[in-house]
């Protein structure tokens, strides 16, 4: 920087008044804002918090999750009354110990080859799926990522947990609820849980790795990676 420029700066600095003084008002202490500034700052801060919470808790989940309806409105209540063996009538173990999961069309058509009643959903099931022999594209609420290995046999037969421990009261539902999935990951919302903050009140509220590990920890079961990962 040249000498002349430095000189100029000095002149400017000297020319500025040290403090602005408004006549008739007490001069505020340097560095401390006035009372009126506080009065504005508090509501602005509260408004900011409200706006941020609204975006985070209401708008973001609405954008993050997409909703789909199940292909058929299925009633667990009606079916539970009709079958003898509870959940296992349709969700059974295969001979090799693997779990059948959501029943295949073959399972449905054992009873619904012909219409059993006059419910419009049953008529649709027969016309759209059983007649043409097309599998029903059920959306699986509890579907886990590909890297997860889960043995139903270990949990039902050995640990003697009930289906409801992880699946909640789905067996008592009269209608299928909408299936929501995360648009970024494609995973079902049931994995993260329906509470966006991840707050968990029941064992079936979430299906994350932490929830599996928590129960394994409590029961003293092996928590090594390759127990549940593949």
């Amino acid at each position: 920087m040249s000498a002349t420029e430095e000189e100029k700066k000095q002149i400017v600095a000297e020319g500025e008044p040290a403090q602005k003084h408004v006549p008739g008002e007490a001069a505020p202490e340097p560095g401390k804002p006035g009372t009126w500034e506080f009065l504005i700052a508090i509501p602005v801060f509260i408004l900011g918090v409200v706006v941020c919470l609204f975006v985070g808790w209401v708008l973001f989940p609405a954008v993050l999750y997409c909703e789909k309806q199940q292909p058929i409105d299925f009633s667990h209540v009606v079916h539970q009354e009709a079958v003898d063996e509870g959940c296992e009538s349709c969700h059974f173990f295969r001979e090799d110990g693997s779990f059948s999961g959501i029943p295949k069309l073959e399972n449905c058509s054992q009873c619904h080859e012909e219409a059993m009643g006059e419910h419009p959903e049953e008529t649709r099931l027969i016309d759209e799926y059983i007649e043409p022999g097309k599998e029903i594209p059920w959306l699986v609420y509890a579907s886990q990522p590909d890297c997860v290995f889960f043995s139903h046999a270990a949990h039902i037969n050995m640990a003697e947990l009930s289906c409801g421990t992880c699946h909640g009261s789905i067996g008592e539902s009269d209608h299928t609820r909408p299936y929501q999935y995360n648009i970024l990951t494609g995973y079902s919302r049931d994995i993260w849980g329906w509470n966006i903050a991840g707050i968990k009140k029941n064992t079936w509220d979430r299906m994350k790795m932490d929830d599996c590990a928590e129960c394994h920890e409590e029961k003293g079961t092996n928590n090594a990676c390759f127990v549940c990962h593949k």
Partner: protein, 266 residues
């Protein structure tokens, strides 16, 4: 010592392998079986060893002597599933992983690799003295239609992560599933065998529980002429080799001449 978070249900296994190098013809069936079993993709030219991914690789060594003393040996090399020594085991790859993407399972003795947790720093590859770990420089690709032959029991890896032999752990998961359905916990020797063991036409590979005297590997590992790769490093691997040829055994421990018999007791 058993880690607190891996208590399990009491019964523990120590799965391991004994490979008879005198029976190995170097046919490579184990490599092919491994790739098919574990959804390992391949490149247009897999002879380029810098970019090809193998979990099981067959190495060829020679004694370097002229005819008529020339001899070669093939060494099939899966992951050694090193147990390490002492309190914290110190499996080389596990001890360096900053992401906890790999661990030593005290119930089975298997070193895991969780691909969704790995972020590809490749410390484990540097730590592994056996080159058992490979890095995915590309996303896996299969020729059109071949993806239908992938195993649903093994998750395919993505670009940017490290992978390695898992002793076909998914086969143990499958065997356990079946056992649990029959309400038992014990897994029989024949219920859990790796793909390479089954594929070997010469029967060179034996697999089982090293601690169970009823399993074949338990006796084989203590037979004379049995050794492990780079024993002197103290990694305590669970893959044993056996041969009647002295030079093979010395080569396996990178024997340099003036260090006794070349094999350090474990």
């Amino acid at each position: 010592m058993k880690e607190e978070h891996q208590k399990g249900h009491g019964k523990t296994y120590k799965y391991g392998m004994v490979v008879d190098l005198d029976k190995c013809t170097g046919c490579g069936a184990c490599m092919v079986a491994c790739m098919a079993e574990n959804n390992i993709s391949f490149r247009k030219d897999d002879t380029n060893k810098l970019v090809s991914n193998f979990w099981m690789r067959v190495y060829k060594i020679s004694n370097g002597l002229p005819f008529p003393d020339a001899d070669i040996s093939y060494i099939p090399r899966p992951c050694m599933h090193c147990e390490g020594h002492g309190h914290h085991h110190a499996t080389p790859c596990v001890s360096v992983c900053p992401a906890c993407a790999t661990d030593y399972d005290h119930e089975t003795g298997i070193v895991s690799q969780v691909y969704t947790r790995c972020f590809g720093c490749r410390y484990c590859m540097a730590a592994c003295p056996y080159h058992a770990r490979v890095f995915n420089w590309w996303d896996p690709r299969w020729p059109e239609g071949m993806e239908k032959y992938l195993s649903p029991d093994v998750s395919p890896r993505m670009r940017g992560v490290v992978e390695k032999c898992s002793f076909c752990f998914h086969r143990l998961q499958r065997a356990r599933n079946k056992a649990y359905a029959e309400k038992r916990r014990e897994i029989g020797e024949d219920e859990y065998q790796t793909a390479c063991t089954e594929a070997c036409p010469g029967g060179a590979i034996t697999f089982g529980d090293l601690d169970n005297p009823e399993h074949k590997v338990c006796k084989l590992k203590d037979a004379p002429g049995t050794f492990r790769l780079l024993e002197k490093l103290g990694t305590n691997p669970k893959v044993y080799y056996t041969t009647t040829r002295d030079w093979v055994q010395k080569a396996a421990d990178v024997y340099v001449g003036n260090e006794g018999n070349g094999v350090t007791p474990a």
